[in-house]
Protein backbone atom coordinates (compact mmCIF):
# COMPACT_ATOMS: atom_id res chain seq x y z
CA UNK A 1 0.00 0.00 0.00
CA UNK A 2 3.00 2.27 -0.16
CA UNK A 3 2.99 2.95 -3.92
CA UNK A 4 4.40 6.36 -4.69
CA UNK A 5 2.04 8.98 -6.09
CA UNK A 6 4.30 9.55 -9.11
CA UNK A 7 4.03 5.87 -10.04
CA UNK A 8 0.25 6.10 -10.11
CA UNK A 9 0.31 9.22 -12.26
CA UNK A 10 2.62 7.82 -14.95
CA UNK A 11 2.65 4.02 -15.09
CA UNK A 12 5.85 2.61 -16.57
CA UNK A 13 5.49 1.50 -20.18
CA UNK A 14 7.24 0.88 -23.46
CA UNK A 15 8.13 4.32 -24.87
CA UNK A 16 7.65 3.02 -28.45
CA UNK A 17 4.02 2.27 -27.68
CA UNK A 18 3.12 5.72 -26.43
CA UNK A 19 0.31 7.35 -28.39
CA UNK A 20 2.29 10.51 -29.06
CA UNK A 21 5.00 8.65 -31.05
CA UNK A 22 2.64 7.13 -33.63
CA UNK A 23 2.86 8.31 -37.26
CA UNK A 24 -0.40 8.64 -39.22
CA UNK A 25 0.88 8.81 -42.78
CA UNK A 26 -2.60 9.06 -44.47
CA UNK A 27 -1.45 7.20 -47.60
CA UNK A 28 -4.70 5.34 -48.33
CA UNK A 29 -6.72 8.48 -47.69
CA UNK A 30 -4.43 10.49 -49.99
CA UNK A 31 -4.85 7.99 -52.85
CA UNK A 32 -8.64 8.03 -52.42
CA UNK A 33 -8.65 11.83 -52.33
CA UNK A 34 -6.67 12.02 -55.56
CA UNK A 35 -9.18 9.72 -57.32
CA UNK A 36 -12.02 11.94 -56.07
CA UNK A 37 -10.14 15.08 -57.14
CA UNK A 38 -9.70 13.82 -60.70
CA UNK A 39 -13.39 12.88 -60.73
CA UNK A 40 -14.46 16.37 -59.65
CA UNK A 41 -12.28 17.92 -62.39
CA UNK A 42 -13.96 15.79 -65.04
CA UNK A 43 -17.44 16.60 -63.72
CA UNK A 44 -16.70 20.33 -63.55
CA UNK A 45 -15.28 20.37 -67.07
CA UNK A 46 -18.28 18.53 -68.51
CA UNK A 47 -20.72 20.91 -66.80
CA UNK A 48 -18.77 23.97 -67.93
CA UNK A 49 -18.91 22.56 -71.48
CA UNK A 50 -22.67 22.11 -71.23
CA UNK A 51 -22.96 25.69 -70.00
CA UNK A 52 -20.77 26.90 -72.85
CA UNK A 53 -23.05 25.20 -75.36
CA UNK A 54 -26.12 26.76 -73.73
CA UNK A 55 -24.64 30.20 -74.38
CA UNK A 56 -25.42 29.69 -78.08
CA UNK A 57 -29.12 29.09 -77.42
CA UNK A 58 -31.51 32.05 -77.54
CA UNK A 59 -29.96 35.32 -76.38
CA UNK A 60 -26.19 34.98 -76.70
CA UNK A 61 -24.25 35.24 -73.44
CA UNK A 62 -21.60 37.89 -72.92
CA UNK A 63 -17.98 37.21 -73.85
CA UNK A 64 -17.02 37.58 -70.21
CA UNK A 65 -18.88 34.32 -69.52
CA UNK A 66 -16.33 32.50 -71.72
CA UNK A 67 -13.46 34.03 -69.78
CA UNK A 68 -15.01 32.98 -66.48
CA UNK A 69 -15.49 29.43 -67.82
CA UNK A 70 -11.82 29.17 -68.74
CA UNK A 71 -10.71 30.57 -65.36
CA UNK A 72 -12.89 28.07 -63.49
CA UNK A 73 -11.79 25.23 -65.79
CA UNK A 74 -8.14 25.91 -64.97
CA UNK A 75 -8.66 26.73 -61.30
CA UNK A 76 -10.28 23.37 -60.63
CA UNK A 77 -6.92 21.73 -61.37
CA UNK A 78 -5.81 22.95 -57.94
CA UNK A 79 -7.77 20.08 -56.38
CA UNK A 80 -5.79 17.17 -57.90
CA UNK A 81 -2.60 19.18 -57.42
CA UNK A 82 -3.15 19.19 -53.65
CA UNK A 83 -4.10 15.51 -53.86
CA UNK A 84 -0.83 14.71 -55.61
CA UNK A 85 1.18 16.58 -53.03
CA UNK A 86 -0.67 14.73 -50.26
CA UNK A 87 0.42 11.43 -51.83
CA UNK A 88 4.09 12.39 -52.08
CA UNK A 89 4.13 13.68 -48.52
CA UNK A 90 2.41 10.52 -47.25
CA UNK A 91 4.99 8.39 -49.01
CA UNK A 92 7.74 10.50 -47.50
CA UNK A 93 6.22 10.14 -44.04
CA UNK A 94 6.06 6.38 -44.45
CA UNK A 95 9.66 6.19 -45.62
CA UNK A 96 10.93 8.39 -42.78
CA UNK A 97 8.98 6.33 -40.24
CA UNK A 98 10.57 3.19 -41.70
CA UNK A 99 14.00 4.79 -41.26
CA UNK A 100 13.17 5.47 -37.63
CA UNK A 101 13.19 9.25 -38.11
CA UNK A 102 9.96 9.77 -36.21
CA UNK A 103 10.08 13.58 -35.69
CA UNK A 104 10.46 14.30 -39.43
CA UNK A 105 7.97 11.57 -40.30
CA UNK A 106 5.36 13.21 -38.10
CA UNK A 107 5.97 16.62 -39.70
CA UNK A 108 5.60 15.15 -43.21
CA UNK A 109 2.45 13.31 -42.15
CA UNK A 110 0.98 16.50 -40.71
CA UNK A 111 1.72 18.34 -43.99
CA UNK A 112 -0.02 15.53 -45.90
CA UNK A 113 -3.03 15.95 -43.59
CA UNK A 114 -3.19 19.67 -44.39
CA UNK A 115 -3.08 18.92 -48.13
CA UNK A 116 -6.03 16.56 -47.67
CA UNK A 117 -8.03 19.34 -46.02
CA UNK A 118 -7.28 21.55 -49.04
CA UNK A 119 -8.54 18.80 -51.35
CA UNK A 120 -11.75 18.69 -49.32
CA UNK A 121 -12.29 22.48 -49.18
CA UNK A 122 -11.40 23.28 -52.80
CA UNK A 123 -13.10 20.10 -54.03
CA UNK A 124 -16.41 21.12 -52.44
CA UNK A 125 -16.03 24.56 -53.99
CA UNK A 126 -15.49 22.98 -57.42
CA UNK A 127 -18.57 20.79 -56.92
CA UNK A 128 -20.67 23.89 -56.19
CA UNK A 129 -19.35 25.61 -59.33
CA UNK A 130 -20.14 22.51 -61.36
CA UNK A 131 -23.67 22.47 -59.97
CA UNK A 132 -24.14 26.16 -60.78
CA UNK A 133 -23.02 25.55 -64.38
CA UNK A 134 -25.35 22.55 -64.59
CA UNK A 135 -28.28 24.57 -63.21
CA UNK A 136 -27.75 27.53 -65.54
CA UNK A 137 -27.41 25.26 -68.57
CA UNK A 138 -30.39 23.07 -67.69
CA UNK A 139 -33.65 23.03 -69.67
CA UNK A 140 -31.76 23.90 -72.85
CA UNK A 141 -30.34 27.04 -71.30
CA UNK A 142 -33.73 28.40 -70.29
CA UNK A 143 -32.67 28.92 -66.70
CA UNK A 144 -29.92 31.20 -67.87
CA UNK A 145 -31.87 33.07 -70.53
CA UNK A 146 -34.98 33.63 -68.41
CA UNK A 147 -33.24 34.65 -65.17
CA UNK A 148 -29.82 35.90 -66.25
CA UNK A 149 -30.17 37.43 -69.69
CA UNK A 150 -27.33 39.89 -69.46
CA UNK A 151 -28.37 41.97 -72.47
CA UNK A 152 -31.80 42.51 -70.99
CA UNK A 153 -30.35 43.37 -67.57
CA UNK A 154 -28.01 45.86 -69.22
CA UNK A 155 -30.72 47.49 -71.33
CA UNK A 156 -32.96 47.79 -68.24
CA UNK A 157 -30.37 49.67 -66.23
CA UNK A 158 -31.74 53.19 -66.73
CA UNK A 159 -35.30 52.28 -65.83
CA UNK A 160 -34.07 50.30 -62.81
CA UNK A 161 -31.80 53.09 -61.64
CA UNK A 162 -34.66 55.51 -61.92
CA UNK A 163 -36.75 53.33 -59.63
CA UNK A 164 -33.85 52.65 -57.28
CA UNK A 165 -33.62 56.34 -56.52
CA UNK A 166 -36.98 55.98 -54.74
CA UNK A 167 -35.65 53.03 -52.74
CA UNK A 168 -32.64 55.05 -51.64
CA UNK A 169 -34.82 57.96 -50.58
CA UNK A 170 -37.23 55.62 -48.77
CA UNK A 171 -34.38 54.00 -46.95
CA UNK A 172 -32.50 57.16 -45.98
CA UNK A 173 -35.57 58.99 -44.67
CA UNK A 174 -37.01 55.93 -42.92
CA UNK A 175 -33.65 55.06 -41.35
CA UNK A 176 -33.22 58.46 -39.69
CA UNK A 177 -36.81 58.44 -38.43
CA UNK A 178 -36.49 54.85 -37.19
CA UNK A 179 -33.34 55.73 -35.22
CA UNK A 180 -35.15 58.52 -33.39
CA UNK A 181 -38.54 56.88 -33.00
CA UNK A 182 -37.16 53.55 -31.78
CA UNK A 183 -34.97 55.27 -29.19
CA UNK A 184 -38.01 57.12 -27.86
CA UNK A 185 -39.95 53.86 -27.61
CA UNK A 186 -37.04 52.06 -25.91
CA UNK A 187 -36.52 54.86 -23.38
CA UNK A 188 -40.25 55.05 -22.61
CA UNK A 189 -40.15 51.33 -21.91
CA UNK A 190 -37.42 51.94 -19.31
CA UNK A 191 -39.19 54.77 -17.46
CA UNK A 192 -39.59 53.85 -13.79
CA UNK A 193 -42.53 54.26 -11.48
CA UNK A 194 -46.28 53.92 -11.55
CA UNK A 195 -46.86 57.24 -13.28
CA UNK A 196 -45.39 55.91 -16.51
CA UNK A 197 -47.01 52.47 -16.34
CA UNK A 198 -49.58 53.31 -19.05
CA UNK A 199 -46.85 54.61 -21.38
CA UNK A 200 -44.73 51.54 -20.72
CA UNK A 201 -47.70 49.35 -21.53
CA UNK A 202 -48.31 51.24 -24.78
CA UNK A 203 -44.66 50.88 -25.80
CA UNK A 204 -44.79 47.13 -25.18
CA UNK A 205 -48.09 46.76 -27.04
CA UNK A 206 -46.73 48.74 -29.98
CA UNK A 207 -43.60 46.57 -30.24
CA UNK A 208 -45.64 43.36 -29.97
CA UNK A 209 -48.17 44.38 -32.60
CA UNK A 210 -45.79 45.71 -35.23
CA UNK A 211 -43.29 42.91 -34.83
CA UNK A 212 -46.12 40.43 -35.10
CA UNK A 213 -47.65 41.67 -38.36
CA UNK A 214 -46.06 41.10 -41.80
CA UNK A 215 -44.53 44.34 -43.09
CA UNK A 216 -46.33 43.96 -46.39
CA UNK A 217 -49.72 44.05 -44.63
CA UNK A 218 -48.81 47.23 -42.75
CA UNK A 219 -47.69 48.84 -46.01
CA UNK A 220 -50.90 47.69 -47.68
CA UNK A 221 -53.18 48.96 -44.92
CA UNK A 222 -51.47 52.34 -44.61
CA UNK A 223 -50.71 52.80 -48.29
CA UNK A 224 -54.20 52.06 -49.54
CA UNK A 225 -56.20 52.66 -46.37
CA UNK A 226 -55.02 56.13 -45.34
CA UNK A 227 -55.84 57.86 -48.67
CA UNK A 228 -59.19 56.09 -48.82
CA UNK A 229 -59.98 57.13 -45.27
CA UNK A 230 -58.78 60.69 -45.97
CA UNK A 231 -56.15 60.57 -43.23
CA UNK A 232 -54.28 63.88 -43.03
CA UNK A 233 -51.77 65.16 -43.96
CA UNK A 234 -51.51 62.48 -46.64
CA UNK A 235 -54.95 62.95 -48.19
CA UNK A 236 -55.17 66.61 -49.13
CA UNK A 237 -51.60 67.93 -48.85
CA UNK A 238 -49.89 65.32 -51.00
CA UNK A 239 -50.56 63.75 -54.36
CA UNK A 240 -49.18 61.07 -56.60
CA UNK A 241 -45.80 59.59 -55.87
CA UNK A 242 -45.06 62.03 -53.05
CA UNK A 243 -48.12 60.76 -51.23
CA UNK A 244 -47.16 57.12 -51.84
CA UNK A 245 -43.60 57.84 -50.75
CA UNK A 246 -44.59 59.28 -47.37
CA UNK A 247 -47.14 56.54 -46.79
CA UNK A 248 -44.39 54.01 -47.48
CA UNK A 249 -42.02 55.82 -45.10
CA UNK A 250 -44.66 55.82 -42.35
CA UNK A 251 -45.32 52.10 -42.72
CA UNK A 252 -41.63 51.20 -42.78
CA UNK A 253 -40.92 53.39 -39.73
CA UNK A 254 -43.73 51.77 -37.76
CA UNK A 255 -42.56 48.26 -38.59
CA UNK A 256 -38.83 48.80 -38.21
CA UNK A 257 -39.27 51.10 -35.21
CA UNK A 258 -40.65 48.10 -33.33
CA UNK A 259 -37.65 45.93 -34.18
CA UNK A 260 -35.05 48.59 -33.54
CA UNK A 261 -36.70 49.59 -30.23
CA UNK A 262 -36.06 46.03 -29.05
CA UNK A 263 -32.44 46.27 -30.18
CA UNK A 264 -32.04 49.54 -28.28
CA UNK A 265 -33.66 48.02 -25.21
CA UNK A 266 -31.26 45.08 -25.23
CA UNK A 267 -28.40 47.57 -25.54
CA UNK A 268 -29.63 49.79 -22.70
CA UNK A 269 -30.13 46.78 -20.44
CA UNK A 270 -26.66 45.45 -21.23
CA UNK A 271 -24.95 48.47 -19.67
CA UNK A 272 -23.99 47.47 -16.14
CA UNK A 273 -25.79 49.33 -13.36
CA UNK A 274 -22.45 50.35 -11.87
CA UNK A 275 -22.11 52.83 -14.75
CA UNK A 276 -25.38 54.42 -13.70
CA UNK A 277 -24.25 54.44 -10.07
CA UNK A 278 -21.03 56.19 -11.06
CA UNK A 279 -22.84 58.79 -13.14
CA UNK A 280 -25.52 59.48 -10.54
CA UNK A 281 -22.92 59.70 -7.77
CA UNK A 282 -21.29 62.57 -9.68
CA UNK A 283 -24.56 64.48 -9.52
CA UNK A 284 -25.74 63.76 -13.07
CA UNK A 285 -29.52 63.59 -13.33
CA UNK A 286 -31.31 60.51 -14.56
CA UNK A 287 -31.69 62.07 -18.00
CA UNK A 288 -28.05 63.20 -18.16
CA UNK A 289 -26.93 59.72 -17.13
CA UNK A 290 -28.95 58.23 -19.97
CA UNK A 291 -27.81 60.87 -22.44
CA UNK A 292 -24.06 60.93 -21.75
CA UNK A 293 -23.27 57.56 -20.19
CA UNK A 294 -25.78 54.82 -20.96
CA UNK A 295 -27.02 55.57 -24.50
CA UNK A 296 -23.58 56.19 -26.06
CA UNK A 297 -22.28 52.89 -24.69
CA UNK A 298 -25.46 51.05 -25.65
CA UNK A 299 -25.36 52.35 -29.24
CA UNK A 300 -21.75 51.23 -29.67
CA UNK A 301 -22.63 47.81 -28.40
CA UNK A 302 -25.69 47.34 -30.63
CA UNK A 303 -24.03 48.50 -33.85
CA UNK A 304 -24.03 45.02 -35.46
CA UNK A 305 -27.70 44.14 -34.80
CA UNK A 306 -28.69 47.71 -35.61
CA UNK A 307 -27.01 47.47 -38.99
CA UNK A 308 -28.59 44.09 -39.64
CA UNK A 309 -31.94 45.74 -39.21
CA UNK A 310 -30.95 48.57 -41.53
CA UNK A 311 -29.80 46.21 -44.25
CA UNK A 312 -33.17 44.49 -43.86
CA UNK A 313 -34.86 47.90 -44.11
CA UNK A 314 -32.93 48.69 -47.30
CA UNK A 315 -34.20 45.46 -48.81
CA UNK A 316 -37.77 45.88 -47.59
CA UNK A 317 -38.13 49.21 -49.37
CA UNK A 318 -38.99 46.94 -52.33
CA UNK A 319 -42.22 46.00 -50.52
CA UNK A 320 -43.52 49.50 -51.18
CA UNK A 321 -44.01 48.33 -54.78
CA UNK A 322 -47.34 46.84 -53.61
CA UNK A 323 -48.81 50.34 -53.30
CA UNK A 324 -47.54 51.20 -56.80
CA UNK A 325 -44.75 53.61 -55.95
CA UNK A 326 -42.58 53.31 -59.09
CA UNK A 327 -39.55 52.06 -57.18
CA UNK A 328 -37.12 49.51 -58.57
CA UNK A 329 -39.17 46.33 -58.14
CA UNK A 330 -42.25 47.85 -59.76
CA UNK A 331 -40.18 49.00 -62.72
CA UNK A 332 -38.57 45.57 -62.94
CA UNK A 333 -42.00 43.93 -62.93
CA UNK A 334 -43.17 46.14 -65.79
CA UNK A 335 -40.07 45.23 -67.81
CA UNK A 336 -40.61 41.58 -66.92
CA UNK A 337 -44.12 41.64 -68.33
CA UNK A 338 -42.99 43.47 -71.47
CA UNK A 339 -40.23 40.97 -72.24
CA UNK A 340 -41.76 37.90 -70.63
CA UNK A 341 -38.38 37.45 -68.93
CA UNK A 342 -37.30 37.70 -65.28
CA UNK A 343 -33.84 39.12 -65.96
CA UNK A 344 -34.81 42.74 -65.09
CA UNK A 345 -35.79 41.49 -61.62
CA UNK A 346 -32.36 39.88 -61.32
CA UNK A 347 -31.00 43.29 -62.29
CA UNK A 348 -32.98 44.85 -59.44
CA UNK A 349 -31.43 42.31 -57.08
CA UNK A 350 -27.96 43.37 -58.25
CA UNK A 351 -28.79 46.99 -57.44
CA UNK A 352 -29.61 46.02 -53.87
CA UNK A 353 -26.39 44.06 -53.51
CA UNK A 354 -24.43 47.09 -54.60
CA UNK A 355 -25.58 49.01 -51.52
CA UNK A 356 -26.13 46.28 -48.92
CA UNK A 357 -22.72 44.61 -49.18
CA UNK A 358 -20.64 47.80 -48.73
CA UNK A 359 -22.95 48.76 -45.86
CA UNK A 360 -22.16 45.55 -44.01
CA UNK A 361 -18.44 45.94 -44.64
CA UNK A 362 -18.56 49.53 -43.41
CA UNK A 363 -19.99 48.55 -40.06
CA UNK A 364 -17.47 45.74 -39.66
CA UNK A 365 -14.87 48.43 -40.13
CA UNK A 366 -16.53 50.69 -37.53
CA UNK A 367 -16.65 47.89 -35.00
CA UNK A 368 -13.00 47.09 -35.53
CA UNK A 369 -11.99 50.73 -35.21
CA UNK A 370 -13.98 51.15 -32.01
CA UNK A 371 -12.39 48.06 -30.53
CA UNK A 372 -8.91 49.28 -31.38
CA UNK A 373 -9.63 52.64 -29.82
CA UNK A 374 -11.12 51.60 -26.49
CA UNK A 375 -9.17 48.43 -25.77
CA UNK A 376 -5.64 47.84 -24.67
CA UNK A 377 -3.24 46.71 -27.35
Amino acid sequence: MSAKLSDQLSPPGDPARRAVTRVHHHLVLALAAEVGAIGIVLVTWSQLRAFDQSLRIGAPGPAIARVVEIIFGLAVLVVPAYGGRAITRSLRARRLAGDGNLPDARIAAQDAGHDLLYVLGFGLMAAIIAFAAFFLASNHGHVRTVLFNWDLIWSSRTALLHGFWWNIKLFLVAQVLVLIWALIVAVVRQLPGGAFAPLRFLAIAYADVFRGVPAIIVIYLIGFGFPLAHVEPFASHMTGNTQLFWLGVLALVLVYGAYVAEVYRAGLESIHWSQTSAARSLGLSQWQTLRYVVIPQAVRRIMPPLLNDFVALQKDTALVSVIALPEILLNAEILKSNHFNLSPVTGAALFFLVITIPCTRFVDHLIKRDKARTQAH
Binding site: S281, L282, G283, Q288
Partner: protein, 247 residues
Amino acid sequence: MSFLELVDVHKSFGDNEVLRGVTLRVEEHQVVCLIGPSGCGKSTLLRCVNALEAIEQGDIRLEDERVSGRGVDLNGLRQDVGIVFQSFNLFPHMTVLDNVTLAPTKVLKLGKAEAVDRAHALLDRIGMWDKRDDYPDRLSGGQQQRVAIVRALAMQPRLMLLDEITSALDPELVAEVLALVGELGREGMTMLIATHEMGFARDVASKVVFLHSGRIEEEGPPDQIFRDPHSERTRTFLRSIIEAKRL
Protein backbone atom coordinates in the same frame (compact mmCIF):
# COMPACT_ATOMS: atom_id res chain seq x y z
CA MET B 1 -23.35 69.13 15.59
CA SER B 2 -21.09 66.85 13.63
CA PHE B 3 -20.20 67.25 9.97
CA LEU B 4 -21.83 63.92 9.06
CA GLU B 5 -24.20 62.17 11.40
CA LEU B 6 -25.87 58.79 11.00
CA VAL B 7 -28.54 58.02 13.58
CA ASP B 8 -29.96 54.49 13.91
CA VAL B 9 -29.72 53.74 10.18
CA HIS B 10 -31.47 50.57 9.01
CA LYS B 11 -31.28 49.03 5.55
CA SER B 12 -32.51 45.68 4.23
CA PHE B 13 -32.36 43.91 0.91
CA GLY B 14 -35.43 41.71 1.01
CA ASP B 15 -35.25 39.61 4.17
CA ASN B 16 -31.58 40.36 4.61
CA GLU B 17 -31.11 43.18 7.10
CA VAL B 18 -27.71 44.59 6.17
CA LEU B 19 -27.63 47.63 8.47
CA ARG B 20 -29.24 47.13 11.88
CA GLY B 21 -29.12 50.51 13.50
CA VAL B 22 -25.86 52.27 12.74
CA THR B 23 -25.08 55.49 14.60
CA LEU B 24 -21.91 57.22 13.54
CA ARG B 25 -20.38 60.71 13.60
CA VAL B 26 -17.73 62.08 11.26
CA GLU B 27 -16.22 65.49 12.06
CA GLU B 28 -14.91 67.85 9.41
CA HIS B 29 -11.35 66.99 8.24
CA GLN B 30 -11.59 63.58 9.85
CA VAL B 31 -10.64 60.38 8.07
CA VAL B 32 -12.85 57.57 9.33
CA CYS B 33 -12.04 54.00 8.31
CA LEU B 34 -14.70 51.32 8.33
CA ILE B 35 -13.28 47.84 8.81
CA GLY B 36 -14.93 44.48 9.21
CA PRO B 37 -15.47 41.14 7.51
CA SER B 38 -16.98 40.91 4.02
CA GLY B 39 -20.74 41.33 4.13
CA CYS B 40 -20.72 43.33 7.34
CA GLY B 41 -22.39 46.29 5.59
CA LYS B 42 -19.44 48.63 4.91
CA SER B 43 -20.28 49.20 1.25
CA THR B 44 -24.00 49.49 1.87
CA LEU B 45 -23.32 52.11 4.55
CA LEU B 46 -21.34 54.22 2.09
CA ARG B 47 -23.95 53.83 -0.65
CA CYS B 48 -26.63 54.97 1.78
CA VAL B 49 -24.70 58.13 2.64
CA ASN B 50 -24.90 59.45 -0.90
CA ALA B 51 -28.34 57.98 -1.43
CA LEU B 52 -27.43 55.34 -4.00
CA GLU B 53 -29.46 53.19 -1.62
CA ALA B 54 -32.50 54.48 0.25
CA ILE B 55 -32.58 53.79 3.98
CA GLU B 56 -35.67 52.43 5.71
CA GLN B 57 -35.28 53.85 9.13
CA GLY B 58 -33.09 56.40 10.86
CA ASP B 59 -31.57 59.64 9.75
CA ILE B 60 -28.52 60.81 7.87
CA ARG B 61 -27.50 64.47 8.33
CA LEU B 62 -24.80 66.39 6.51
CA GLU B 63 -23.89 69.67 8.24
CA ASP B 64 -27.15 69.40 10.16
CA GLU B 65 -29.15 69.09 6.93
CA ARG B 66 -31.23 65.93 6.62
CA VAL B 67 -30.06 64.11 3.46
CA SER B 68 -32.00 60.85 3.77
CA GLY B 69 -35.63 60.10 3.15
CA ARG B 70 -38.10 61.92 0.92
CA GLY B 71 -37.79 65.38 -0.52
CA VAL B 72 -34.00 65.44 -0.64
CA ASP B 73 -32.32 66.93 -3.69
CA LEU B 74 -30.26 63.87 -4.54
CA ASN B 75 -28.30 65.51 -7.33
CA GLY B 76 -27.44 68.36 -4.97
CA LEU B 77 -26.38 65.97 -2.23
CA ARG B 78 -24.14 64.06 -4.62
CA GLN B 79 -22.40 67.26 -5.68
CA ASP B 80 -21.24 67.59 -2.08
CA VAL B 81 -20.50 63.92 -1.50
CA GLY B 82 -18.20 62.07 -3.90
CA ILE B 83 -17.80 58.31 -4.00
CA VAL B 84 -15.11 56.08 -5.49
CA PHE B 85 -15.93 52.45 -6.17
CA GLN B 86 -14.02 49.20 -5.89
CA SER B 87 -14.39 48.58 -9.64
CA PHE B 88 -13.39 52.14 -10.69
CA ASN B 89 -16.47 52.53 -12.93
CA LEU B 90 -14.80 54.96 -15.28
CA PHE B 91 -16.86 55.63 -18.41
CA PRO B 92 -15.19 53.37 -20.99
CA HIS B 93 -16.42 55.33 -24.03
CA MET B 94 -14.81 58.58 -22.86
CA THR B 95 -11.19 59.68 -22.66
CA VAL B 96 -9.58 60.35 -19.29
CA LEU B 97 -10.15 64.08 -19.75
CA ASP B 98 -13.82 63.64 -20.70
CA ASN B 99 -14.34 61.40 -17.68
CA VAL B 100 -13.05 64.14 -15.42
CA THR B 101 -14.79 67.09 -17.09
CA LEU B 102 -18.20 65.49 -17.72
CA ALA B 103 -19.82 66.23 -14.37
CA PRO B 104 -18.28 69.73 -13.92
CA THR B 105 -19.58 70.82 -17.32
CA LYS B 106 -22.98 69.13 -17.19
CA VAL B 107 -23.80 69.44 -13.50
CA LEU B 108 -21.92 72.53 -12.31
CA LYS B 109 -22.34 74.12 -15.77
CA LEU B 110 -18.70 75.19 -15.85
CA GLY B 111 -17.36 76.43 -19.18
CA LYS B 112 -15.29 73.93 -21.13
CA ALA B 113 -12.07 75.88 -20.52
CA GLU B 114 -12.63 76.16 -16.81
CA ALA B 115 -13.48 72.46 -16.48
CA VAL B 116 -10.35 71.55 -18.42
CA ASP B 117 -8.25 73.83 -16.21
CA ARG B 118 -9.62 72.12 -13.16
CA ALA B 119 -8.97 68.68 -14.68
CA HIS B 120 -5.48 69.78 -15.71
CA ALA B 121 -4.53 70.67 -12.15
CA LEU B 122 -5.91 67.39 -10.80
CA LEU B 123 -4.46 65.15 -13.51
CA ASP B 124 -1.09 66.89 -13.15
CA ARG B 125 -1.16 66.08 -9.51
CA ILE B 126 -1.43 62.33 -10.21
CA GLY B 127 0.99 62.59 -13.14
CA MET B 128 -1.62 61.68 -15.73
CA TRP B 129 -2.16 64.85 -17.72
CA ASP B 130 -0.14 63.19 -20.51
CA LYS B 131 -2.69 60.39 -20.60
CA ARG B 132 -5.68 62.71 -20.87
CA ASP B 133 -6.60 61.48 -24.36
CA ASP B 134 -6.34 57.78 -23.52
CA TYR B 135 -9.36 55.59 -22.97
CA PRO B 136 -9.65 53.88 -19.57
CA ASP B 137 -9.09 50.38 -20.94
CA ARG B 138 -5.55 51.35 -21.86
CA LEU B 139 -4.65 52.30 -18.28
CA SER B 140 -3.46 50.07 -15.47
CA GLY B 141 -5.87 49.41 -12.62
CA GLY B 142 -3.96 51.79 -10.37
CA GLN B 143 -4.09 54.54 -12.98
CA GLN B 144 -7.80 53.97 -13.53
CA GLN B 145 -8.53 54.17 -9.85
CA ARG B 146 -6.54 57.37 -9.45
CA VAL B 147 -8.45 58.87 -12.37
CA ALA B 148 -11.68 57.79 -10.68
CA ILE B 149 -10.59 59.58 -7.49
CA VAL B 150 -9.73 62.69 -9.47
CA ARG B 151 -13.05 62.50 -11.31
CA ALA B 152 -14.82 62.68 -7.96
CA LEU B 153 -12.52 65.47 -6.73
CA ALA B 154 -13.29 67.57 -9.82
CA MET B 155 -16.71 68.22 -8.32
CA GLN B 156 -14.96 69.70 -5.27
CA PRO B 157 -16.92 67.56 -2.81
CA ARG B 158 -17.02 68.29 0.89
CA LEU B 159 -16.97 64.60 1.77
CA MET B 160 -15.39 61.66 -0.03
CA LEU B 161 -16.59 58.08 0.32
CA LEU B 162 -14.10 55.39 -0.69
CA ASP B 163 -15.54 51.91 -1.12
CA GLU B 164 -12.74 49.32 -0.89
CA ILE B 165 -10.94 51.14 -3.65
CA THR B 166 -7.87 48.89 -3.65
CA SER B 167 -9.62 45.51 -3.49
CA ALA B 168 -9.67 45.04 -7.27
CA LEU B 169 -6.04 46.06 -7.76
CA ASP B 170 -2.95 43.95 -8.26
CA PRO B 171 -0.81 44.15 -5.10
CA GLU B 172 1.94 46.26 -6.70
CA LEU B 173 -0.59 48.94 -7.70
CA VAL B 174 -2.16 49.39 -4.28
CA ALA B 175 0.53 51.70 -2.94
CA GLU B 176 0.11 54.43 -5.58
CA VAL B 177 -3.60 54.67 -4.87
CA LEU B 178 -3.21 54.65 -1.10
CA ALA B 179 -0.50 57.31 -1.32
CA LEU B 180 -2.95 59.63 -3.08
CA VAL B 181 -5.64 58.99 -0.48
CA GLY B 182 -3.15 59.57 2.34
CA GLU B 183 -2.23 62.92 0.80
CA LEU B 184 -5.87 63.95 0.56
CA GLY B 185 -6.35 63.08 4.21
CA ARG B 186 -3.37 65.17 5.30
CA GLU B 187 -4.74 68.10 3.29
CA GLY B 188 -7.90 67.95 5.33
CA MET B 189 -10.36 66.20 3.03
CA THR B 190 -13.12 64.63 5.08
CA MET B 191 -13.32 60.96 4.17
CA LEU B 192 -15.27 57.90 5.09
CA ILE B 193 -13.32 54.86 3.90
CA ALA B 194 -14.33 51.22 3.75
CA THR B 195 -11.13 49.20 3.55
CA HIS B 196 -9.41 45.88 4.06
CA GLU B 197 -5.99 47.58 4.20
CA MET B 198 -5.40 47.56 7.95
CA GLY B 199 -1.91 49.06 7.75
CA PHE B 200 -3.31 51.94 5.73
CA ALA B 201 -6.19 52.43 8.18
CA ARG B 202 -3.75 52.49 11.08
CA ASP B 203 -1.64 55.16 9.35
CA VAL B 204 -4.25 57.59 8.05
CA ALA B 205 -7.40 57.17 10.12
CA SER B 206 -8.49 59.65 12.77
CA LYS B 207 -10.99 57.04 13.85
CA VAL B 208 -11.49 53.36 13.08
CA VAL B 209 -14.93 51.80 13.15
CA PHE B 210 -15.35 48.04 13.33
CA LEU B 211 -18.60 46.95 11.74
CA HIS B 212 -20.02 43.51 12.42
CA SER B 213 -23.30 42.11 11.05
CA GLY B 214 -24.70 45.55 10.33
CA ARG B 215 -23.88 47.05 13.71
CA ILE B 216 -20.96 49.07 15.02
CA GLU B 217 -19.17 46.69 17.32
CA GLU B 218 -16.45 49.08 18.38
CA GLU B 219 -14.97 52.42 17.41
CA GLY B 220 -11.97 54.38 18.54
CA PRO B 221 -8.61 55.85 17.61
CA PRO B 222 -6.53 53.46 15.45
CA ASP B 223 -3.92 52.90 18.17
CA GLN B 224 -6.54 51.65 20.56
CA ILE B 225 -8.46 49.52 18.03
CA PHE B 226 -5.39 47.79 16.63
CA ARG B 227 -3.41 47.42 19.90
CA ASP B 228 -6.08 47.03 22.50
CA PRO B 229 -9.50 46.20 21.04
CA HIS B 230 -12.17 45.99 23.72
CA SER B 231 -14.57 43.71 21.90
CA GLU B 232 -13.96 40.01 21.55
CA ARG B 233 -15.27 40.12 17.96
CA THR B 234 -12.85 42.86 17.00
CA ARG B 235 -10.05 40.82 18.50
CA THR B 236 -11.06 37.69 16.54
CA PHE B 237 -11.30 39.68 13.32
CA LEU B 238 -7.90 41.32 13.78
CA ARG B 239 -6.31 38.01 14.73
CA SER B 240 -7.53 36.45 11.46
CA ILE B 241 -6.08 39.41 9.57
CA ILE B 242 -2.73 38.99 11.30
CA GLU B 243 -2.73 35.23 10.63
CA ALA B 244 -3.26 35.97 6.93
CA LYS B 245 -0.15 38.18 7.20
CA ARG B 246 -2.12 41.23 6.09
CA LEU B 247 -1.18 43.38 9.08
